[in-house]
Every structure is written in C-alpha cells, then in structure tokens.
Amino acid sequence: MSEKSLAFIFPAFVSEYSEDPGRRLPGFPKYFQKFLHQAAIRVSPDLEQFNFHTRTFLDDELKTQFITYVCSCALSSYLKDEGIRSDYCAGYSMGIYAAFYHAGVVSFMDGLELIGRAFESIRKVTRNAPFSMGTVIGLSREDIVGIIKHTGSSVQITNQNGICSFVLGGKEDEIRRFLDAAKAEGALSTRVIPVSDPYHTSYINPPGSDHRMIMTGLHFNDPMIPVVSLLDSKILHDEMSLRDEIIRNLYTPMNWYKTQLLLQSRGISVFIECGMGKALTKNSKFVEGDAVFLSPDSPGFIEDLEKIKPLL
C-alpha cells in the first residue's frame, strides 16, 4: 500500500447544496444531467427538475440523498474520464453508496436502490420517536464523554472529524440539551444537523431489527479499487466484507479523523473530495500530516489537479 497515493473521498448526504459543485469543471454539467436522468427514471421522475440554485428538494430528505449520490457519482466518473485514477476510495457516512459505485461494487442503479431501501428500513425503527444529530467543535472527546456522564444524556458520539470536532446522534430533545451543555462547557460552536434519523447510533439497530434485506436481489462485485472502512479503518477487498460494511455503516460509529491519519501513514498523499461542498477539505486543515485535500468546489481545483497529476 505504500506505493499508493490518491484516494477519492465521498461526502455524506447534505442538508444544504453548494452553489454548484461542478461549475469550475468544463463539461461536467453533461455528466451530472446524464446521471440525474438515470436516477429520475429509476426512483422519481421529478428529480429531473433539480436545480442547485433553487435548492430543489431540500425539504425532502430522501430526494436530497439521491441528489447527493448523483452528484458524487457524476464527479467521480468525470474525474476518471479525465484520467484521474484513485488508488483507494472511502465513503464518509452515507457517502458509502457513491464509494461503492466508484469502486465497481454496485451499479449506479443498485446504489440508488440501496439508498431508498436503507432510508425505509431505518424509518421503520425510528418512526416512533423524533431523532436528530448535532456537531460540536472545540471540545475534546474526554470533555464530551464527561458531559454525557455528568448530564446522564443518552446521546452517542457518531463520528470524530478531528481532535476537537465531533458529531453526535440521539433523541431530538437530548441532542438539543447536550448541545446547550457543550456550549456552556466552552464549545466554540454547536449545530443541530437537520436530519430525522440518528445515523451511526445503536438506535438504528434495536433488538430484532434486520437491515440486511435492503440488499436482496442486488448484485455486489469485488471492488476494482480497495474501499477503506471509516468504521474500523480496515481495507475492504471482497464482496462479503463490503456487504457487511453497508449494513454496519447504518448503526456503527465512525472515526474519520483516525482513518485519515491511518491512510496518510500508509502513503496516501492526496485526497479528492467527490461531492457537493468542501466540508471534508475544510476539516482536513485540522488533521496532522502533509496530505493534500482537493475539492472541485475550491477555486484552484483545476490548477491543483494539473500540479499533482505528474506525481500520481
């Protein structure tokens, strides 16, 4: 793995669109429209009406998830056709579906099917209580665990983005109370994420639930590119481990911070964020190491890409 140097990272489902993630890429709109058209045929004809500027579907979590997936898949295909080949790929949270598409594990259509089925499967177990998620910046893990213990809160840490950057999930009222407590403890920033399901928590996997049926009838292949798990930072090479990963990813906490460090220690020197916005690229500034993060949403993306091409 030490010879490898480029990883494609696929961001999570969004709750806000960026201006237009492909606006700096000549020819990208055609890619986006092609994927959007296929998605409209498969899951919902009105997806064709999507427009970044009118913020279409932001009030519809499932359609926003489809749009995020469409955008990520279109971007990775565009970059691939431009000669940018990734040595590894990883899906940040629900970016896993686009990572699987990029690695050739599932077809674009089956990825859409997985998203829709996972959404319904999760809703079956979370529909009886209002859930939410939130972010805390400026406190350590010890601080956060301390607040949870001290307040008797049942919120769960679902992800660590950096030394002092965390995501939490749980019941809606508990999340709000926790964020207030975190602010009082000295958090620089807290924010409620506008989602209704507590992804990566045990609430998604109560006793008796079984999400494996979301894969029924869908075809999985061995990956053409190794996929990196954000759950335990392992490299996934085969179909069976990927099937397991797609289910565990729904209810298992992840650690993006640890995964980035591990990937860097194994020789990854360039990460390209394939999706809407540049949240992961921004976050990388707070992670140790010399790896370069590039986002198509950043002003110098094309120039940066040309600079690193000869090094790959």
């Binding site: 601080d143 403890e185 000295g186 921004k282 500034k285 707070f286």
Partner: protein, 102 residues
C-alpha cells in the same frame, strides 16, 4: 500579559481580512469591519477555529479552545471588527481571558 502595539493591531487586521477574502472567495475591497461573517461572507465555525490556530502559532499563545468558547458565549462575534477585537484580547490575555469577566 502581552502588549498590543499598533503594529500588532495592523498585523491582526491584515491577517483576518486576507483570510476571509481567500476562504470566502471575495475581493478584499468587499470586506470591512462591519462585514457580517455569516450573513455577508457565508463564513462558518471551522473558519473561526482555523483563525484561532493561525494566531496561536503566530504569537505562540497559551490558550485553551474552551476558554475562548466560554468567552464567546458571553461575547458573540458577528462582524469582522468584533472578531479582530476578540483576537487582540486573546493575544493580550491568553488563558486569563475569562478573568476579564470578574
């Protein structure tokens, strides 16, 4: 307690202006002390954190993020001018920032 000179004030202002111009993709001329970081520049908390780290390194500051967080709860920052004032207080008082409340 560090002494804040006119040169420090100028330097902090330049760094803050330059930082937001680059991060938010706006022309330097569009930024002034009354510019609202969220509403006018679409800024976010990660930018605030990054700026703190920049100043911590530049001035070798001994300050915990939690101290800044607790101060910011009572003195929320909305504009570029308020942010510059807070950075100057951080440079001057470091971990004793909260003693200003007493």
């Amino acid at each position: 307690m560090a002494t804040i000179t006119e040169n420090t004030k100028k330097e902090v202002k330049e760094i803050v202006y330059q930082f937001f111009a680059e991060e938010c993709e706006v022309d330097l001329s569009e930024i002034n002390n009354d510019t609202n970081i969220i509403k006018d520049l679409d800024g976010d908390s990660l930018m605030f954190l990054e700026l703190i780290e920049i100043f911590k390194k530049k001035y070798n500051l001994d300050i915990e993020l939690k101290t800044i967080g607790k101060y910011a709860v009572k003195h929320p920052v909305q504009t570029i001018g308020q942010l510059i004032d807070m950075q100057l207080l951080i440079i001057r008082h470091e971990n004793k920032l909260l003693e200003l409340e007493k």
